[in-house]
């Protein structure tokens, strides 16, 4: 059973655009929602995270929007750059364990 559904699977955006990656979860007991960024050949790196009592969190060009009633959250990347090209994973945490989405391969074209 996939508890965290992520879309789209891949995304191509022009430099300066705002890619949006969406995730939906099923278990309302999840209490922490991180996003990870992964470059080829590297381990995932924690990018930004949010707790369910907050509707939005910004860190630099990265923003998480959280909709608790819809059980959805999304990642927005402002002023996207070619260096943002990577695979992005959403996740949800419960009891010190993370459940991951299947990933989105993002390509930013110059």
């Amino acid at each position: 059973q996939q508890q965290v559904k992520q879309s789209p699977q891949s995304l191509i955006v022009q430099k300066g655009g705002i890619p949006i990656i969406n995730c939906a979860y099923e278990n309302t007991a999840f209490d922490y929602f991180p996003w990870y960024q992964q470059f080829p050949g590297k381990g995932p790196a924690l990018l930004i995270a949010i707790r369910p009592d907050v509707s939005e969190k910004k860190e630099g060009r990265f923003t998480i929007s959280f909709n608790k009633s819809a059980k959805q959250f999304s990642l927005h990347i402002m002023d996207s750059q070619p260096g943002d090209s990577a695979t992005y994973f959403c996740a949800a945490s419960l009891n010190e364990k993370l459940t991951f989405g299947t990933g989105t391969r993002l390509t930013i074209i110059p």
Binding site: G43, P44, A45, A49, E96, T102
Partner: protein, 112 residues
């Protein structure tokens, strides 16, 4: 990489052979995790540890065992490797806030 190393970084082995992957941390974190990453599946939890000699199963634990005899080391063993265990394996640790997990560089394992 939050003081996490994994060894080996690459390994090719044959079906039926035992394989042990090692994760080493330098920062004395209590929680450690083993994940596998496969296309279309994201990262899936294999086993985790919440202290020395304290381990528990994750989502995809069949065919894997773990051991943690020291805080800094978490070992993943494939008793008899199968081709379906060809994957990239990541170790992770949790910081004091528990929810924040940081990943090692990964081990690419190929089972022929």
């Amino acid at each position: 990489d939050a003081g996490i190393t994994q060894s080996p970084r690459h390994k090719v082995t044959e079906t039926g052979t035992p394989v042990t992957l090692r994760c080493h941390q330098t920062e004395n974190h209590r929680y450690m995790y083993w994940y596998r990453q496969d296309p279309g599946h994201g990262l899936r939890l294999i086993h985790y540890s919440y202290g020395v000699k304290d381990t528990d199963k994750g989502e995809v634990s069949d065919g894997y065992s773990v051991s943690r005899s020291k805080t800094e080391d978490f070992l993943l063993t494939l008793e008899s490797a199968t081709s379906s265990q060809t994957s990239v394996y990541f170790c992770a640790i949790s910081t004091a806030s528990l929810n924040e997990q940081f990943f090692g560089p990964g081990t690419r394992l190929t089972v022929l």
